[in-house]
Symmetry: C2
Subunit: 357 residues, 2 copies
């Protein structure tokens, strides 16, 4: 008999520690349930359905204007392109583990001919010193808050303010990769608008903490967003209708925005459970949002077997995949959503008893 994969075992669990539940068609059906079928579609970026949502999110982010995009990949490349064109300089700066650097098949370079300067290193956040040393021939600095690939770490707010001031003084645009912006509001105890006021342009996503189907918003002043619409068309993102994503983004935004604090508190509780296990630690030690990484001093294959056995016994899934860091160690990512709090605490305790052994 073929050995069961971690993903298969995960899919068979009754409870999952991460996320909002299964990504299935029901997610869309629920969002549509109370929508009047006679409501008109958006049409190439126009119409009530898209304009109202854009206005709503622009206001939430404290920006003049916002544009809905099918993806963050598209939105962010476009933001950087606009800032580079404005300065007549095809250089930007970001973290070596930025989404643009590792998940986009070099779209920024291949489509826009933009060269990134990589700040800090793969183990740590960008600090003020990195920014001061990057040189002044940079059109835009992109900061990702939280820095997902190192467990969702966050700089303190003072650092953000200093970087923002420095960039303004040196005429370098500051762009926020806010894929998980909603998720960090409880940590900073700031409004989205306060944080966004430090940045010239902002991208937010609607299928991470918000749990929509897909979709992103790019926000900034109106000159910027109008220009971004032209690039959206060039990229092939100005679809005749984006409403399936807009409706679901709006629905889950309303439903989950106020839950971010709960997810954050749950993440801290859960990280603490992991950190009590020998050979297991979280990064960061205390989560700064609903997400963190769990590092295991154990070879990937061994951990997978252990996890499969635990999933089968407890009915609780921790993760569907594990990434190797060395022959002797590996890690997984946890993002708390609606599912964590419905797991019976007794069952969760049983899971950690098994993990400790």
């Amino acid at each position: 008999m073929r050995k069961k994969s971690l993903l298969e075992a995960f899919k068979q669990t009754q409870y999952q520690i991460s996320g909002h539940g299964r990504r299935n068609i029901q997610v869309l059906k629920e969002a549509l349930l109370n929508i009047d079928g006679q409501q008109e579609s958006d049409l190439y970026g126009k119409g009530k359905i898209i304009e109202e949502f854009q206005t709503k999110v622009a206001k939430f982010l404290g920006k003049e204007s916002a544009v809905f995009f099918p993806s963050g990949t598209m939105a962010q490349q476009i933001a950087l392109r606009i800032w580079c064109d404005e300065k007549g300089l095809n250089k930007v700066a970001y973290h070596p583990l930025s989404h643009l650097e590792i998940h986009e098949e070099d779209g920024l370079k291949k489509l826009h001919n933009i060269e990134p300067i990589l700040l800090a290193d793969k183990k740590r956040l960008i600090v003020m010193e990195d920014v001061m040393n990057m040189g002044k021939d940079v059109a835009c600095l992109l900061l990702e808050l939280p820095q997902r690939e190192i467990g969702g770490q966050l700089p303190d707010y003072k650092t953000l303010e200093s970087i923002s001031t420095y960039c303004r003084e040196h005429h370098i645009k500051l762009h926020l990769d806010g894929a998980r912006l909603f998720e960090i509001l409880p940590y900073y105890k700031k409004s989205a608008a306060e944080i966004c006021s430090l940045f010239d342009s902002v991208y937010v996503s609607f299928y991470k903490g918000i749990g929509g189907i897909a979709g992103a918003i790019l926000a900034g002043d109106e000159t910027f967003t109008e220009e971004s619409k032209i690039w959206k068309r060039r990229h092939g993102g100005d679809l005749i209708s984006l409403y399936p994503y807009i409706i679901s983004s709006n629905f889950y935004f309303d439903q989950r925005l106020n839950k971010m604090n709960e997810y954050y508190e749950d993440a801290k509780e859960l990280a603490n459970f992991f950190n009590q296990c020998q050979g297991i630690s979280t990064n960061p030690l205390v989560p700064a949002s609903n997400m963190f990484h769990v590092h295991f001093d154990m070879p990937k294959e061994k951990l997978e077997s252990t996890l499969i056995a635990i999933y089968e016994k407890t009915g609780i899934g921790i993760t569907s995949y594990v990434k190797e860091t060395s022959v002797k160690s590996c890690y997984c990512e946890i993002s708390i959503g609606d599912q964590y709090c419905i797991i019976p605490k007794d069952e969760l305790r049983r899971l950690f008893e098994m993990l400790i052994k």
Copy 2:
């Protein structure tokens, strides 16, 4: 009182000559009605829901492989880029009224640095002579069937075969802009696979004659489609979930594919009605698909007032917009779908009596 616009008057009509009915949320709701909510989402281009549809359409087009894209704009730029990269030559050829030339904000040039050679002129189709004269320093020739911006004209099949043979002999790739490929099958009396066999790569759309919400397929051999997936990610089109578009594309594909002949016959009937009116003629005189243009020897504003009066009296909408061709003439586009055949013939006769006057 503000004068009513043509669009407003059109929206208030009971019947519409063009299309499948209003573009509203019901279109999505209907497609989802019989879909099991527990069915898993696609995930970054993987999963049953996307793979099955890709396989189905690849088979229908007689191609080895197919990839679902959010838009044709994205799919076609990518197709041309792949063929250019393969030949190491950033030159393609297409019609001056190609979608790429007039509706994409120069994405092909601005993102891919590809130079188009414009064949034929704005009034006529590309013929064999244009192809023979375009030179051999061309990576790919794009043919749009039917040529939408000149009323959906079509070359005869022999011309297509000759162009295909010429391109193969001269190592020029031939790409089909098949935004309305399903719609022309009755004219050629050929299968989609027969027509596509003349081309190296093919794009088809699911929201024209098929009447889906958005979405496109790019098909070709597997090396080509695999490469297109990398570019899809670069463009920001590799969304975590495309299923709202895939489900609706599949649903309306099954529902309308066999109606293309009916739409074609209806288009010919309707064009004939228009051609009986003085000062009105269709382009082409006899439609080659479900679409054609109607040219009016009348200033745009005058036609709009006439149409608004007709819409109000008959309850039938002909078009929601009119384009000026000169101070004395204008035109509109008609695309027959499900709506035409439900208009009572008496009412339609009344409409044409009013139009003749």
